[in-house]
Symmetry: C2
Subunit: 436 residues, 2 copies
């Protein structure tokens, strides 16, 4: 069983009042890591609590940490969290434990609250969030059998049930939530016909869930499934923006330009420790499913899954002008995925491929069995046949310029405090004219 | 026309005698960049000349460079050439010009030869070669129509002639020539049947040609075809080792574990300047071919191709025991590729994807029309039906443990001095047993 300790105690409240509301993504039970900056200051590591950020560099200056927790905080003072990820989960857990103590209402350290509030907390509204890590490799899996079926028009290929299918994504164009999404230029058109070249006509999103790799492995040394969890440092939301015209036209060796123009991630890394209360058995799929031995373990079977509701909302320019709230267009759950994150990671390294701290592994579109859990427009519109209808009567087959897509994630369980992932958002901008 | 200057003068000879033989890859007309180290010393940039390496750090210490050439040399003193690549071709050309002067037999600087020989030259036999750059992204194209036809059992998909097909490779497992090739573990078997799991049974090589990206582009800003050459810093040999069982079994979203266990590159970056004499018109393909406008320019049509003979040799354990020389098993030429490197680069960035200094772009298997130009075993053996027969009577469908595959490249043109690429070699080692 994933280890629970006092940091998960649902009765814990923080002296940071905004951390105690039912709606916050960042109660004291969460404490995700990210990289922030304030105007004119260098980017550095922080931890979210309510609507505030704990500035780890400032906290170190006050001498608040010792031992392993201090080593962890020191590894988080730079512009990317890779050194912290490399230290691994034991270090993150120690720092989490100490931060939980420091932020606890009525705790032994609560007398220091005024000092901490003035010296160590940075309001989120004053901060710019950056990518949490220098992402040197991005691997995108396709682990929802519902997505695969709907996209393939029926049954997925047999290989889908035999291994976690994946392709190498493009790491250089991953950007933090909020980065504008420029509509790409490219070739598209029915396969075999004379292609068109111009702005992508079929812009789509894909609601995905991501994991940041911790220590990783040396080249040639696979990671056994029994050790996989130690290499999954934490989680984030991923929007695998997809240019369907380009993607379907170019498709021969997998996705390339249809995806590589931008991928958005939420800026907070929710640690594996914070997710411990939300573990569920690995999905069994339909029928008597037996994963291959190298992807099977009792721990993975019993608690390899994660119960996280993932939602997507859409705000169109007209809705914005009308003052309407974003419309929720997807409600899915990661627990329906066919393969677990541990299985994805172990499969990835099974041929000896070396994974490194800060590598991003994404799950693929997290579509579930329900009608409202279709987690991209290509599924929702059945390739253009059943457009999405919004509350104000507008319809969408694909995203138009000015459309803004926002993801949220929320873990919920009886007897635990809900935790969230912050936002992953992006607005589609017109293509630019290119010099030829 | 690609610019020729006195550095290309075929009459130039060096006072480094080994640079003047007909067989050397590294005459004074070449001067490729690489990263080397000697036992106990840090890795740093150097330039190949005959069987020697010009230690750029030592040369700087002697004050041999000024101006732009000095800036270039200073950018090459670290363990990776990325800063030099970022400066771009003008800097590389200035340093090349100065080095050509310093190494020239009978030149104005030849009186310094004894001093340079003792202070600045490092014998290759005393050096270990490293990756020339920190490769953050690796993109593998598939630009031989002959390879595509033979692998696909006939005609390639129409898209092959409409754009340079590519997939994202895995950068973390790229290693310099000489790194052992551990046979990967994985799932394989006929699609749809119960798969096997174990050591890959069908180990293959792919003879490819690579380009290192120079300055690159910002996200969202495509690189016009007219500017593409400025972003191609230089070239190397690439062995895209392929586990065919894993590759064909997993294939759904393109190559993943079938390739990501190891990719080998030759350690010397032959600059675009050194390749200037060997430019040829872009291949026209068959019939009246008109590339899309964004991939077409007069310069690309007239001199977008490169005339480079690429060969692969095989040495088996029995040949090694018998004292036999490696057997040449492939002779291909890059001039037959359907798309040019400039077209690959411009297509890659056409959707706004940002390319960075040190990114590696590979061409795909460089198979040509001739029988002996099939540039991987899968083509040679027609998927197991026509095994390769070696001079000693041994046969091979696929690589066996102990087999060593070595690539060489050689540019030749009437009126120019031949230049080469050094070696790209690797020996297949047995799979290791994995803890489960």
């Amino acid at each position: 069983m994933a280890q629970l300790d006092q940091t998960h105690d649902p009765n814990r409240r923080s002296w940071v009042e905004t951390a105690n509301g039912a709606d916050t993504d960042f109660p004291i039970q969460n404490l995700p890591f990210g990289v922030f900056s304030r105007a004119g200051e260098p980017a550095r590591g922080g931890v979210a609590i309510g609507d505030q950020i704990v500035d780890l560099t400032a906290a170190l200056r006050l001498g608040l940490f010792s031992g392993v927790a201090r080593e962890a905080a020191e590894a988080a003072t730079g512009p990317a969290l890779n050194p912290l990820l490399a230290l691994g989960r034991r270090h993150a857990a120690a720092l989490r434990g100490r931060l939980s103590e420091l932020l606890l209402a009525g705790g032994t350290e609560s007398g220091r609250a005024p000092e901490l509030a003035s010296e160590v907390l940075v309001p989120m509204r004053d901060a710019t969030m950056h990518l949490p890590a220098r992402i040197e490799a991005f691997s995108d899996f396709s682990c929802s059998i519902y997505h695969t079926r709907r996209m393939g028009g029926g049954n997925p290929r047999p290989v889908f049930e035999q291994l976690p299918v994946a392709y190498n994504g493009r790491a250089s164009s991953i950007r933090p939530s909020g980065t504008p999404v420029r509509r790409p230029l490219g070739q598209f058109g029915p396969s075999g016909s004379a292609p068109q070249y111009g702005p992508e006509p079929s812009m789509d999103f894909e609601l995905e869930f991501g994991a940041f790799v911790g220590p990783g492995n040396a080249l040639g040394e696979p990671i056994p499934i029994t050790e996989a969890e130690a290499h999954i440092f934490g989680y984030c939301l991923v929007n695998d923006w997809s240019a369907r015209g380009i993607q379907f036209f170019e498709s021969a060796l997998g996705p390339f330009l249809g995806k590589s123009f931008l991928t958005s991630v939420s800026p907070w890394v929710v640690t594996a420790e914070a997710m411990a209360p939300f573990r569920v058995p690995a999905p069994r799929g339909e029928g008597q499913r037996q994963p291959p031995a190298y992807l099977d373990s009792p721990q993975n079977r019993d608690e390899g899954g994660l119960d996280i509701e993932l939602t997507a909302s859409l705000l169109t320019p007209r809705m914005r002008a009308e003052g309407a709230a974003p419309a929720r267009i997807v409600r899915a759950n990661f627990k329906h995925m066919f393969w677990t994150m541990a299985q994805m990671l172990t499969h990835h390294a099974s041929n000896g491929c070396n994974l490194s701290p800060g590598d991003l592994i994404a799950s693929g579109t997290v579509s579930g069995p329900e009608e409202d859990s279709k987690a991209c427009l290509a599924e929702i519109n059945s390739r253009g046949e059943t457009p999405l209808t919004l509350p104000n009567g507008e319809t969408r087959n694909w995203l138009e310029n000015g459309d803004e897509v926002s993801f949220a994630g929320r873990a919920h369980r009886e007897g635990a405090v809900d935790i969230g992932f912050g936002i992953c958002t992006g607005r589609v901008e017109p293509a630019t004219v290119v010099r030829q």
